[in-house]
Amino acid sequence: MNMESAIAARLDSAYESTVYHLKAGGGGTVLEINDLCLWYGQTQALHHVQMTVEKGLVTALIGPSGCGKSTLLRCINRMNDLVDGLKIKGQIRLNNEDIYNRAADVIALRKRMGMVFQKPNPFPMSIYENVIYPLKVDGVRDKAFLEETCERALRSAALWNEVKDRLDQSALGMSGGQQQRLCIARAIAADPEVLLMDEPCSALDPIATAKIEDLINELAGQYTVVIVTHNMQQAARVSDNTAFMYLGRLIEYGDTEIIFQTPKSPKTQDYVTGRFG
C-alpha cells in the first residue's frame, strides 16, 4: 500500500470529522452540497463532500493540484455533464432546488449562474456582443435594455472607462487582463445567483491579477462568489470563507482567517504553512 492510498484510507474513516467553522453572511444559504461523490470512470474524484455557501460572501476553494476543487466547482453549474463516463451521487441544491434532479433544465440552470474560466475566453465578436451574449441566447431583443445592461456589467467589472469608445471592436484585440474582466462582465450580465470562478488569475500578470482581486472584493456583497484558486495569498485576500480540499475530500471549511491563522485540522496546517502541496 503506497502512502497516498494509506492517507486516503485514514481520511475516509475520518471523513465525518470535516472541520467546520463557517462564517455566516447574514443572507442565508445559496448553495447546499449534500454528500457529493463523483467518479471519472473508475476513479473517484470527490468523496462525500458536504458544504453550504453563504449568500453575498466570497467562498474560496483551495488545495493541491488534483484535489477536486475544480471538479466540485464545475459540478455546481453542471459543466461536468460534457465529460464522458462521469457518475455523480449526492445532491446540490441551488436556493433549495435540486439541480441534479432529473426534471431540472440544465440550460435554465446555467442561466442562473455565471462562470469565469482559467484562461480568458472572449468570443470572436465585438465587446458589446460579448457582454450581452447571455441575454442574447435568452432571447432578449430590447436594444435599450441590452445597452443599459452592457454598461452596467462593464462598470461592475471596472472595464467601462477603458472600452466605452470601442464597444463595437473585436474583443480579441484586448489585453489578457481586460479580456478576463470582460469575461467577468459577461458572467454577471444576466444577474446570476452565484458567480463561479475557476482560477481566474492563473493566466494573468500580477498587475492584472490585482485588478481582478479588487474587482472580486467589490463584487462581494452584491454577488455570491465561489472561487477556485491555487494561490493561497489570493484566497486569504479575497475570501470570507475558505474550503480546504485534499484528495477529493473536504478537510476543513470555514472562516478564512481561522483557516490561515489557526487551522483546526493538522492537514490544513501543513498545507497553509507550505509543508506540502
Binding site: 455565471g114 474560466f117 475566453n121 468570443f123 470572436p124 451574449y133 441566447v137
Partner: protein, 579 residues
Amino acid sequence: MSAMTETLEASAETVPMSRARARRTDMRSRGEPALWSLGGALAIGILMILGFLVLVLSNGIATFVPKPLRVVTQTDGKVTAGEPFRSEVFKPVPQDVAQLSPEWQEKIKAANGYVDRTLYRLGNFDIYGEDFRWVPEFLVAKVEQPKNLLFIERSEWGPFIGTVKTFKVDGVDQAFSGLDDAKFTQVHEQSRERAQAIRKVERSDIGKVNRALDDGRLALRKIELKDGKDSAAYRAADTRFAAQNVELQRQYQALTEQVQKLREANAKNTLTLVEVGGREKTIDFSGLVRAYAANDLSLGQKIGVYFSRWAEFLVDEPREANTEGGVFPAIFGTAAMTLLMVLVVAPFGVITALYLREYAQQGRLVSFVRISVNNLAGVPSIVYGVFGLGFFAYVVGGSIDSVFFPERLPNPTFGTGGLLWSALTLALLTVPVVIVATEEALAAVPRSMREGSLACGASKWQTIKYIVLPRAMPGVMTGIILAMARGAGEVAPLMLVGVVKLAPQLPVDGTFPFVHLERSFMHLGFHIFDVGFQSRNAEAGKPMVFVTTVLLIALVAIVNATAIVVRSRLKKRFAGSQF
C-alpha cells in the same frame, strides 16, 4: 575484479577522445540527406507546375497574335501560301533524295540524312481539301511575304488566304482598292448587321412562335391524357388550338419571309476571292468575319486584331464544329454548373459534418461513416457519372417527367442529362472534401469557447450557431474552395449527365421560368476534349485547346482568389486571439 577496474580505467581514458569526436554531429544525424530529398521533391514539383503554366500560357496567349503569311514557290513549280505553323527536322525517303541536285544530296549526307521542313497552315479548305502542308527545305525555290496577301476569316469553311479580286454591291461590280475602302467596309458592316438580324429573328422570334405552337400541342395532349380524346373539353380545346395554330402559322410565314428578304439582300453583296494558284471563290459579305493584310500590319493594327479575336472568343458562340468562334456558352455553362454545385454541396456537407462531429455519439458507427466518406473521395469520377445518369436522370428525372410532364413523353424533360443532374452529380463527388474540411475546422474550435458559451446558458445549438460555426468558417471555406476547384475541372462524369458538344440554348434566358435546370449545357473542360481530340483536324484545333485551357485555368484561379479573399476577411475577425 582487477580486470574490471582496468576496463573502467581504460574507458575513462577514452571518454575525452570520443566526446571530442562527438562534437561534430555527422550529416546523417543532422538530417542533411533528408533535407536534400525533401527540398528536391519540392523543387521538382514547382518546376513541373511552372513548366506546365509556361507551356499553356505561352501557347494560349500567342494563339490570337496575327502571324505573317508566306508564299513559297517550290522547285517543282508548285506554290504554297500559308501561315508557317511549325518546323522540324525529318529524314526524307532515299528515292526522293536521289532525285535532288548534287549540292542538296551532299548537304543531306553531311547532316546524316536529316533535313528541315516546315508545316504551313493553308486555309482554303473548300478549294484544297487539306488544312496543312509540309514543305521540305530542299523543295523551296523562293520565299516571299507579299504585302497584298490577305488572311480572311470566314464564318464557313475556315480561313481563306489569298486576295480580293472584286466585290459586288447590289449586284453591281466594284473595283477593290484595299481593305480600308469606304464602300467595302460599309457594305461589310451592313451585311453583318443583316446577318445578325437574321439570327435574331430565327433564334428569338421564330423560336417564340415554335414555343407557342409546342405549348399548344402540349396543352392539348394534357387535356387528352386527363379527359380522353372523346371528351367535350378535348374537342373545345382542339378547335381553340386549331384557330390559334392558324394564327401562329401565319406569324411563322411572315417571319420566314422577313428572313428570306434579308437573305436575298445579303446575297446581292458578294466578294470574289482568289488564292495564289488563281482559283476563285465567291462568298457573301455576311460570311466575312475579319480580313487583314497579314504582312502589312502596323503594331496598332496587330493589337487591334489580337484583342478583337479575344473579344470574339469570350463573348461569341462557337462555329465550325467548335474549332473557331467563341466559347461563351461553355464559360456560362461551367460557371452556372459550378455555382449550382456549390449551392448544393456547401449546406449539405456542412450540415453532415456538424452532425457527425457535434451530435453523433462518437463510436464505431461514426468511425465507419467517416472512413466511408473518406473513401468516397477515391471513387473514380466516371462512376459518379454512371450513378448520376442511372439514379438522378433516369430514376428521379424519369419520375418527375411521368408526374409533372406526362404530355411531353416520350420526349424526356428531366429524364435525361441536364444542368441540375450534372450539378448534383458533382456535388456528390465533392461532398467528402467539404465534410472532411468542415469536421477538421469544427474540431479545431477551442473547448474553452464552447464551455464559455454553455456557461452563459446557451444551448448546444446556440453555441454551434453563434460560436462554433463562425469560428470554423475559414476552414469550411477552405473545403468549399477545394470542392469548387475540383468540380469546375471535372469532365468525365459530366459527359454522361448533361454536357454536350453544342448546346442550342443557354440554361438561363429570357423565357419563363428563366432558369432551365433541365437543359443540357456546354463546359470548358469538355470543350477542350472535344476540340482537341474529337474534331476533324486535331492540328487545327490545337491552338483553341491552349486558349481554352488558359481560360479554364483563369476561371478556376479567379473563383479561388475570390474565395480566398472572403476567407481571409473571415480570418481577420479572429486575429489577435491568444489561442
